[in-house]
């Protein structure tokens, strides 16, 4: 009796498993299109978004199993629609494979898209969708994103990897902080409502002959030396190198900066080695006082024993003379003044001044924060820069 009961139980479980298995259809790797990067463009005339995706297509070999991604090849596939969501849905219609965004690490916004649409509308799909990682890099490209995605770097074959190498893997040594979906999206919800995005350009490889093929035309290098700034999702302008240095010096993160030697600008340059900063934001007599105390350690720009430009050789470089240090101090102050002036002039709080004031004062400073134009006229900036080397 007992034995029969156990057999019946096992049979029931087996039947249950068969029914469940039949209702579950797994998606094979070769049925997916693994997307590495997305480029978003906007057409003002048709008011349509177009999405270009860089995909890896694993190939199925004769045995029926999937080959590695490296054996497949990179493809650019496009879709379009009234919104980014619809455009991405149309991708499916383009190639039949299920788009898989789990490995997407970069979103490139075309210049037109960044300037003519609100960043909130464009990025809404990516922010709300669970498949896009919060650390996904977001950049603005010069020209169309779809064109940028067809360019080839001299180092990396895949555009998405090339841009990640430039922005992320360089570990802040590209003298620019990389911008992510998380930081950008947060700016839509905080008090500052300002954000900045890396601005990417492509420099073509020089060709000695006039007969240039399309492939050669797309060969070159990606560069970054500017930042696009946004206020409440709307494009405001670009930051130049000096302003980016100011932005880096103002923030808490240590991002590499290079300064000229005023005495011998053609032979020497200095790099940032140490940084400590203390930002004090206060509201006094109805005015906003920002006091930045910045202490920088600098070293002459050299390569180390293994040939790396950074980290700088600490002990073997001679100390920097006073005149040069004063020159660096002037440059630092110039950078900081320039970036703050840009923020005031454009009324774009990409420095996060309002966020820190709210953190310090809470609801008590709401009136000042919501003063609109008046807020920017009340700012007093004071800096105390010390350079050592």
């Amino acid at each position: 009796m007992k034995k029969g009961f156990i057999i019946l139980t096992i049979m029931a479980i087996a039947l249950l498993l068969v029914v469940i298995r039949a209702s579950f259809v797994p998606l094979q790797l070769n049925e997916r299109a693994i997307i590495l990067g997305v480029g978003v463009d906007y057409d003002q005339t048709t008011q349509d978004y177009s999405v270009a995706t860089e995909i890896i297509t694993p190939k199925q070999n004769a045995m029926g199993s999937e080959s590695s991604a490296s054996e497949g090849s990179q493809k650019i596939v496009k879709g379009s629609g009234k919104s980014v969501g619809v455009a991405i849905r149309n991708l499916f219609n383009s190639f039949g494979k299920t788009p898989s965004f789990g490995e997407c690490a970069i979103i490139i916004l075309g210049q037109n898209c960044a300037q003519q649409t609100n960043l909130k509308d464009t990025l809404d799909y990516f922010i709300a969708s669970g498949s896009f990682r919060d650390g996904t890099v977001v950049v603005v490209s010069e020209g169309d994103a779809s064109e940028m995605m067809q360019k080839r770097s001299q180092v990396d074959e895949y555009v998405s990897f090339a841009l990640q190498t430039l922005l992320v893997d360089s570990g802040n040594r590209a003298q620019i902080q990389y911008t992510t979906l998380n930081t950008t999206a947060q700016s839509f919800f905080d008090y500052s409502k300002g954000c900045f995005l890396n601005y990417i350009q492509f420099v073509k490889e020089n060709s000695s002959t006039s007969d240039v093929t399309e492939q050669q035309n797309n060969q070159g290098k990606f560069t970054t030396g500017q930042m696009a700034i946004f206020s409440d999702g709307k494009y405001v302008g670009l930051l130049n190198r000096q302003q980016i240095n100011g932005l880096n010096l103002y923030g808490n993160k240590k991002i590499f900066c290079v300064f000229d030697d005023v005495k011998t600008p053609n032979s020497k340059a200095f790099g940032l080695d140490k940084k400590s900063n203390d930002r004090e934001l206060k509201i006094q007599n109805g005015r906003i006082k920002i006091k930045l105390t910045l202490k920088l350690g600098l070293k002459q720009l050299l390569t180390d024993s293994v040939g790396e430009v950074i980290a700088l050789r600490r002990k073997e470089t001679s100390s920097i003379d006073k005149e040069s240090l004063l020159g660096i101090k002037d440059q630092v102050e110039g950078c900081l003044t320039s970036v703050l002036n840009k923020s005031i002039q454009t009324q774009c709080d990409f420095l996060g001044i309002k966020n820190i004031l709210f953190a310090n004062y809470g609801k008590d400073c709401k009136q000042i924060l919501e003063d609109g134009q008046g807020f920017w006229q009340k700012i007093d900036f004071e800096m105390d820069v010390t350079c050592e080397g």
């Binding site: 498993l17 469940i20 298995r21 209702s23 579950f24 998606l27 898989s100 789990g102 490995e103 690490a105 922010i127 709300a128 669970g130 498949s131 990682r133 919060d134 650390g135 990897f161 990640q164 190498t165 992320v168 893997d169 570990g171 998380n182 999206a185 947060q186 919800f189 905080d190 966020n355 820190i356 709210f358 953190a359 310090n360 004062y361 809470g362 609801k363």
Partner: protein, 387 residues
């Protein structure tokens, strides 16, 4: 020999890893909708209350001279019928928590490993492992926790430390700017995910020498609580006002464990390791459920629902409910609506916290009612029954 009996040190290590397990899944983001940036403060208050409750349970366990089970103690205080009702309510609470955490675990795997899995298969896999472990006794779960403690904690520490660089801690400020009631509201909301004191209550009678080294168990809980709170602070510091988005907090935090494509998906490694803690928590919930139903429906005094005879059928019922209920009902919404926001939360808080706080008193009353057990005869009596 009672195979279910565990050491204080094993219990301490187990608590240390299961306390964060259920609270770092969807809790931070759902609680953020209630408490905003002060969610961490609400969590700290909930932990403080729970710490008190755990402390009281440990005092009770220390005074439980004759290793009486929760059922025996409650029967001596409130009678047979009310004890059975309470135990059934405990079982429902543990089942709700089990199914809620299991749903979150499935989402965690989906988000981190970018895969879709079938609910039935996913649940069955866990249930088969749980069946194996429970059939061998609770001490196997405790031993497993002891063995895996170091790798699980390393993964948890790595997840938090590698994300620190991206944190902006001023996003936690200003503290309690929206008022203390909002903070308390978030504490109350989180109540359903707490109540680890109830697990200790259920283990009463299962701990070896409960009168010795109970400090270890308390320390284990405190370390688990600090780790949870730290991760919650990191979560808000990373995402600010966006903390309400997403599903699983630890999956979002771990995304910042890799900043370079050269390093690869470090988060996969850490999450795989840490997810074992979630499984251990699920096994503990399953054990507690089986034990509650077993004690409520069957009169036999036993420490060990080792999935033999009646215990097996209780487990089968539990497994069938776990597999099929979520196919027809949105269990997560149901638990959030009733256990986190609805009236059921007050019953749950009563079961997990109030009973825990009054546990030493119950033990005292029970000891007073059973003077025979006090002089050691009880132990012989229980052992004879086990034989």
């Amino acid at each position: 020999m009672i195979q279910n009996r565990i050491k204080n040190s094993q219990l301490a290590l187990l608590l240390c890893i299961i306390v964060p397990a259920g609270k770092l899944l969807s809790l931070p983001h759902t609680a953020f909708m209630e408490g905003g940036r002060d969610t961490w403060l609400g969590m700290a208050i909930a932990f403080a209350i729970e710490l008190f409750a755990v402390g009281m349970v440990l005092i009770g366990l220390k005074n439980n001279n004759d290793d009486l089970t929760l059922k025996q103690i409650l029967q001596n205080v409130i009678g047979k019928f009310l004890t059975s009702v309470l135990l059934i309510l405990y079982a429902i609470s543990f089942f709700a928590k089990f199914i809620f955490v299991l749903t979150d675990l499935k989402i965690l795997y989906g988000e981190v490993f970018v895969l879709k899995s079938d609910w039935s298969f996913f649940t069955l896999t866990g249930l088969v492992v749980a069946w194996f472990l429970l059939s061998k006794g609770f001490n196997l779960i405790a031993r497993l926790g002891q063995i895996l403690f170091v790798p699980i904690m390393i993964c948890l520490i790595a997840i938090s430390i590698f994300s620190l660089n991206d944190c902006t801690f001023y996003k936690l400020l200003p503290i309690a700017n929206d008022g203390i009631p909002k903070v308390l509201k978030s504490s109350l909301f989180m109540g359903f995910a707490f109540g680890d004191g109830a697990i200790l209550l259920l283990l009463s009678g299962d701990v070896k020498n409960p009168d010795k080294k109970t400090g270890q168990v308390f320390l284990g809980f405190v370390v688990g609580a600090i780790a949870t709170l730290f991760l919650c602070v990191i979560y808000i510091a990373l995402f600010g006002e966006l903390a309400y988005l997403g599903d699983i907090a630890i999956a979002r935090i771990s995304q910042f464990n890799f900043n370079t494509s050269a390093v690869g998906r470090l988060d996969w490694l850490f999450i795989s390791g840490w997810a074992i803690a979630v499984y251990l928590l699920l096994f503990v919930y399953a054990y507690c459920f089986v034990k509650c139903v077993d004690m409520a429906l069957f009169n036999k005094v036993d420490h060990t629902p080792r999935l033999k005879s009646r215990g097996f059928w209780v487990y089968v019922a539990f497994a069938l409910l776990s597999v099929f209920l979520p196919l027809f009902v949105d269990v997560k919404k149901l638990v959030l609506d009733y256990f986190a926001r609805g009236f059921v939360r007050y019953i749950d808080i009563f079961l997990t916290t109030v009973v825990a706080i009054f546990y030493p008193l119950c033990v005292k009353i029970s000891n007073a009612k059973n003077p025979k057990l006090k002089n050691g005869l009880g132990k012989i009596h229980v052992k004879i029954m086990e034989v």
